[in-house]
């Protein structure tokens, strides 16, 4: 039903660490891989071998360049973006069919693929671009918070985690109950100053982002000078090889 629950007993969501994410796309590919066979219909792509391959992905990794305020230094921040399982999301309330809903028990925002009519209005209502239309199925798709993994009794308890969280090689994605202030994810948010995306939109995202840490090295230190050779035979051999290989 598209009426939002007053409160949810849990607020399950993700905490994404912008400091440790290396932009490897492991979470995006494992998300696609899991969700093309799990809950809802396959996530098929269009024109996969043609000039314009595209299709629904539930998790996408942006890259941003952030300049230092002094303009001398910049860094790249990898930025995974998926549904934030907002507390008061208009994507749910605009849905005319009730296909889009937020669960009272854990706050997960889902789409029922059997009742969605594919009107796309929910995708217009999401500020975060989290909903992508599946042309082949004629229904809207979005992150399910891997609802078919996290409660899956056939899995070992340690595997009852979203696919993206399990796949991340740097541990940049954390899953848990953000409604419980003692949970590991809530503690992490508190410690690292986790923030909301576009809070002024009033959607109250559940997912939180951890800001990149301050840089420890500065470019002013410069590249360390290469050690001078000691003039030995071995040293001369290396220098010769270096000259030959670099072509001068």
């Amino acid at each position: 039903m598209t009426a939002l629950p007053q409160t949810t007993s849990k607020k399950l969501g993700l905490v994404i660490d912008l400091d440790t994410c290396v932009g490897c796309q492991a979470c995006a590919t494992s998300c696609k891989e899991w969700n093309t066979q799990g809950y809802s219909a396959p996530l098929a792509d269009e024109d996969t071998r043609g000039a314009d391959p595209h299709g629904p992905w539930l998790n996408r990794i942006h890259g941003y360049e952030v300049e230092d305020t002094n303009g001398k230094d910049s860094r790249v921040v990898h930025f995974p973006r998926s549904c934030l399982h907002c507390e008061t999301p208009a994507c749910v309330t605009v849905c005319p069919t009730g296909a889009s809903y937020k669960r009272a028990e854990d706050g997960i925002v889902l789409i029922n693929p059997d009742t969605c009519i594919g009107c796309k209005l929910c995708s217009w209502a999401c500020p975060y671009g989290a909903r992508e239309y599946d042309v082949q199925e004629g229904v809207m798709k979005k992150c399910t918070l891997c609802v078919d993994r996290i409660y899956n009794e056939n899995f070992e308890p340690e595997d009852r985690q979203p696919a993206c969280v399990k796949a991340c090689p740097t541990g940049a994605r954390h899953f848990g109950d953000l409604g419980d202030e003692n949970s590991a994810v809530s503690q992490l948010v508190k410690e690292r100053g986790g923030f909301d995306l576009l809070p002024e939109m009033g959607y109250k995202p559940t997912n939180k982002y951890l800001p990149p840490r301050a840089k420890r090295d500065t470019p002013q230190a410069g590249i360390e000078a290469l050690p001078k050779g000691d003039g030995s035979a071995m040293d001369r051999l290396f220098k010769l090889a270096d000259r030959l290989l670099s072509g001068n």
């Binding site: 995006a28 942006h62 890259g63 921040v77 796309k120």
Partner: protein, 307 residues
């Protein structure tokens, strides 16, 4: 926002249809029986045909048209659902009104109440359409107090222009709607002017830094896709300011021509047929611009510096 032709066709055609229906209901309830049965029948059929064509086109652009009935269920929260309900509820009243007014089912006492109810329901339906757009916070140019009034006055302006054209054709007499037609066109021009001024003046104060939380000195470095994805195809379209200005100018010129033709129609009634087509074209231009100038906040994640 991508100006999809099915949506532009739906909102302009059904807008004209509901506007015509509302004015037929109101004039019939004040003037009573029409001197021309052909006028009554043709205008009722045309109004309902425009509405139905619009609704069908909006249904066909769904991923699952066969499930469209489900859209009637969430009227408690969704304006799109309310629009569907209002549209469906209008039909039986409009049919009953048409039967009574044409005399096909003789019930002269019922003409006035049915006419008023049909007019109200028609305007409520257009109101709900406007609300679908006006309540979307993600698109600043739509989330405006004037969005709904513009939708309503477009329905009235195109509906009354059509009413004028039909009465001119069948009775050679502009009938009682001529002042309504002129007034609604004038109001529309003023509303649209104020609306455009409002969206031009609204600060585009959401930035890429706000969206990503990465501060003021952030720019896109790597895109998260191979070719344009759904979000960009659907929400990434914004017309260049320059073209926007030109189209706004075209819109005003079309309205001015329509006003002059409707004035001319007082002496040469048939000119009002051309006036209607001009108003309808202006509706297309305006609706296209409404979409093309609707900048979605998600574009901030995709390289747009501010929205």
């Amino acid at each position: 926002m991508n100006p999809a032709y099915s949506v532009i066709f739906f909102t302009t055609a059904s807008g004209a249809g509901y506007g015509l229906l509302a004015l037929l209901g109101l004039t019939a309830s004040s003037v009573g029986q029409s001197p021309s049965l052909a006028f009554v029948l043709v205008s009722m059929v045309l109004a309902l045909a425009l509405i139905t064509a619009g609704l069908l086109s909006s249904t066909f652009h769904l991923g699952h048209p066969e499930r469209a009935w489900r859209a009637l269920s969430q009227w408690k929260t969704s304006w799109l659902s309310r629009e569907g309900v209002a549209a469906i509820v209008t039909y039986p009243f409009a049919l009953a009104f048409g039967l009574a007014w044409s005399g096909l089912y003789p019930a002269p006492d019922a003409i006035a109440p049915l006419g008023v109810i049909t007019a109200l329901l028609s305007l409520i339906t257009v109101f709900t359409t406007g609300k679908i757009y006006a309540t979307l916070k993600t698109i600043r140019a739509w989330h405006q107090p004037l969005t709904v009034p513009v939708y309503l006055f477009f329905a009235l302006a195109s509906g009354s222009a059509l009413h004028l054209a039909l009465s001119a054709f069948f009775t050679r007499d502009p009938g009682p709607v001529a002042p309504v037609a002129l007034l609604s066109l004038g109001t529309l021009a003023v509303l649209k002017f104020l609306y455009w001024r409002a969206i031009d003046q609204a600060p585009r104060d959401r930035t890429m830094g706000d969206a990503t939380g990465l501060g003021d000195h952030v720019r896109q470095w790597e895109v998260p896709h191979t070719t344009k994805n759904f979000v960009q195809r659907e929400m990434g379209f914004v017309v260049a300011r320059r073209h926007g200005k030109r189209l706004r100018g075209l819109f005003y010129i079309l309205l001015l021509v329509a006003v002059l033709l409707e004035l001319l129609a007082i002496t040469i009634p048939l000119v009002s047929i051309i006036a209607f087509f001009i108003v309808f074209i202006s509706a297309w231009v305006e609706r296209w611009l409404f979409f093309a100038q609707g900048e979605h906040v998600v574009t901030l994640f995709y390289g747009n510096a501010q929205a």
